[in-house]
């Protein structure tokens, strides 16, 4: 039997959807008992949400002012202390989990598996490498704890209708003070979250300016979609970094993805491989994006996008 500890990702007040997807991966391991741990300044609200997730047997809370911000150097020793008795420790492959889990693994003296996309057995998994151009099957040693991140685009969130027990835990760990949170700056948006939106509209370098991105936002709002971008569009400063989709940005799996004025570089395609339907609008009929698009339209986006937005009335 596997006993799995899932590290909850949250912002202090609500649970990030990545947690329900990480739990889904854990639940695909046979005969798994899954616990979720919430480390926070005040954990009640987040723990309440985690307790509703199907497949979760128990929610642990570790509260303290040092856990107000998710600093890997501070969280990792606490997770190490909590991990005794668990066969697996999982986190999401988001920037939160990617920062944290290797630190946990190294403190435990074990390797870490990044981006689990499929569970084969309790100790063997598939994961993408080379920007998703190869899939690697890995096997973790049976006698050691498995520390891993879960590629959340590969999993649908578990449903919530559960009512798991919530227990507060105390940990005995020495916490460093060499790392301090200063602040976070995010381009606040009312649009659906890029990583969980059912529909996403992304714009590329072709937009040419931040102002031109307005036609992308207008289309997205009509569709009720989240908005993403290529690296080139982010680098050029048209949109903030958190909108980047791809190998080094967000890996997403919406039902509908519209790539507008994006050429389709492998690094971008890695981020959208699992999308349901990919639509590409590009004026170059040779653009590589058309090789993976389910529906392609060769057109000037400055004409086609306003037309499309209007046609969707």
């Amino acid at each position: 039997m596997s006993k799995i500890l899932v590290i909850a990702e949250h912002d202090g007040s609500s649970l990030n959807p990545s947690t329900a997807k990480t739990v889904a991966c854990a639940a695909s391991i046979e005969a798994a008992e899954i616990h979720v741990v919430v480390l926070a300044a005040a954990a009640a609200a987040v723990a309440g949400e985690a307790a509703q997730l199907d497949s979760v047997a128990k929610v642990l809370t570790v509260e303290g002012p040092e856990n107000e911000h998710a600093l890997a150097a501070v969280l990792a020793p606490q997770i190490v202390a909590l991990s005794a008795g668990y066969s697996h420790v999982f986190g999401p492959s988001t920037t939160f989990g990617k920062d944290l889990m290797p630190r946990v693994a190294a403190l435990l003296g074990v390797n870490q598996i990044s981006d689990i996309m499929l569970v084969l057995t309790s100790h063997s998994f598939k994961r993408p490498v080379y920007a998703g151009n190869a899939i690697l099957t890995v096997e973790a040693p049976a006698d050691k704890v498995v520390v891993a991140t879960v590629r959340i685009a590969s999993y649908a969130a578990v449903a919530d209708g559960n009512n798991a027990a919530i227990e507060s835990a105390t940990v005995d760990a020495e916490l460093p003070d060499h790392t301090r949170f200063v602040g976070v700056q995010s381009g606040a948006t009312d649009r659906p979250d890029l990583q969980t939106a059912a529909k996403v509209v992304s714009g590329g370098r072709a937009l040419g300016s931040a102002e031109s991105f307005d036609i992308i936002y207008a289309l997205a709002d009509k569709l009720g979609a989240g908005v993403g971008a290529s690296r080139a569009a982010v680098d050029a400063g048209y949109v903030p970094n958190e909108m980047q989709v791809g190998q080094t940005g967000k890996i997403i799996a919406p039902d509908l993805y519209l790539a507008i004025g994006i050429s389709g570089a492998i690094q971008h395609l890695t981020g959208i491989k699992d999308a349901g339907t990919i639509v590409a609008i590009n004026k170059d009929e040779e653009a590589p994006i058309f090789e993976v698009a389910d529906i392609g339209l060769v057109a000037d986006l400055f004409k086609a996008i306003p037309e499309l937005t209007e046609a969707l009335d």
């Binding site: 920062d99 099957t137 301090r180 200063v182 700056q185 995010s186 046609a311």
Partner: protein, 249 residues
């Protein structure tokens, strides 16, 4: 500060369309263009800028891998690094092994700052910096898009899913860099000539006193399932019809 260590990994160039070997043992590398991992070039550029601002004395580039990685180290020296260390290893090492090797070099050199790429584009693991920081017992500032040093502190802006997060760390420490931190300089021909005279030391894992352990086993590589080319529509009306057909609008 005295010394900054920078990791340079030799990887398949990012422009190459990677193919899995038919026997599933890895990806084709015969006759394939190899380069410095793009993130590592950015790490080196940052270290060089810190040195050029007078905030560090020496920049040392380190590669762990096959002897062919000398080529990438020479490029690093041509960019401006002062010297290079190659830790010879023919076998494939896990990130934890490589972290232990880096830790041994940190100790040997008494380095105060290690700057690494946030991930290597071959294994896409994104683990080394975090693991090194953990076994060193020092701070990590991952996915950096801005680095400011002040005395023995660094203020680092990190690209996170929510936006830009700023943290302050005490040095010594580890910084892993993201793509928007800087644009690496181009190497000029005279610099390539000069780089030939710069020291490149070779060390073995045994000399460093590191024991590599069997870790995660790579069982088999396979190509990903390919998406198929779909249909082309003639105009916006055709697109709307196709989307309606699929029940997407």
């Amino acid at each position: 500060m005295q010394k900054i260590l920078v990791g340079l990994k030799r990887v398949v160039d990012y422009n190459v369309r990677v193919r899995v070997k038919s026997d599933g043992s890895g990806v084709e590398t015969d006759g394939v263009k190899m380069s410095i991992n793009p993130f590592d070039e950015i790490a080196l550029e940052e270290a060089l800028r810190i040195k050029e601002r007078g905030e560090a004395e020496e920049v040392i580039v380190v590669s762990v891998g096959a002897s062919e990685a000398q080529q990438q180290l020479r490029t690093g020296l041509a960019m401006g690094a002062d010297r290079a260390i190659l830790v010879d290893s023919q076998e494939s090492l896990t990130p934890l092994d490589v972290a232990r090797i880096f830790k041994a070099i940190v100790d040997r050199e008494s380095a105060e700052l290690v700057i690494l790429g946030k991930q290597a584009i071959d294994g896409d693991n994104s683990q080394l910096g975090q693991m090194l920081a953990a076994i060193w017992g020092r701070p990590q500032a991952t996915f950096a898009s801005k680095v400011e040093l002040a005395g023995n502190k660094a203020s680092v802006t990190r690209e996170v899913d929510a936006g830009l997060e700023t943290i302050e760390i005490d040095l010594p420490g580890v910084i892993s860099v993201d793509l928007r931190l800087n644009e690496p300089r181009y190497v000029k021909l005279p610099d390539i000539m000069k780089a030939k005279k710069k020291p490149l030391d070779q060390l073995s894992i045994e000399e460093l006193g590191v024991e590599v352990a069997a870790g995660i086993k790579e069982v088999t590589y396979e190509p990903p399932s390919e998406r198929e080319r779909g249909v082309m529509v003639d105009d916006v009306a055709g697109l709307v019809a196709a989307l309606k057909d699929k029940g997407l609008v």
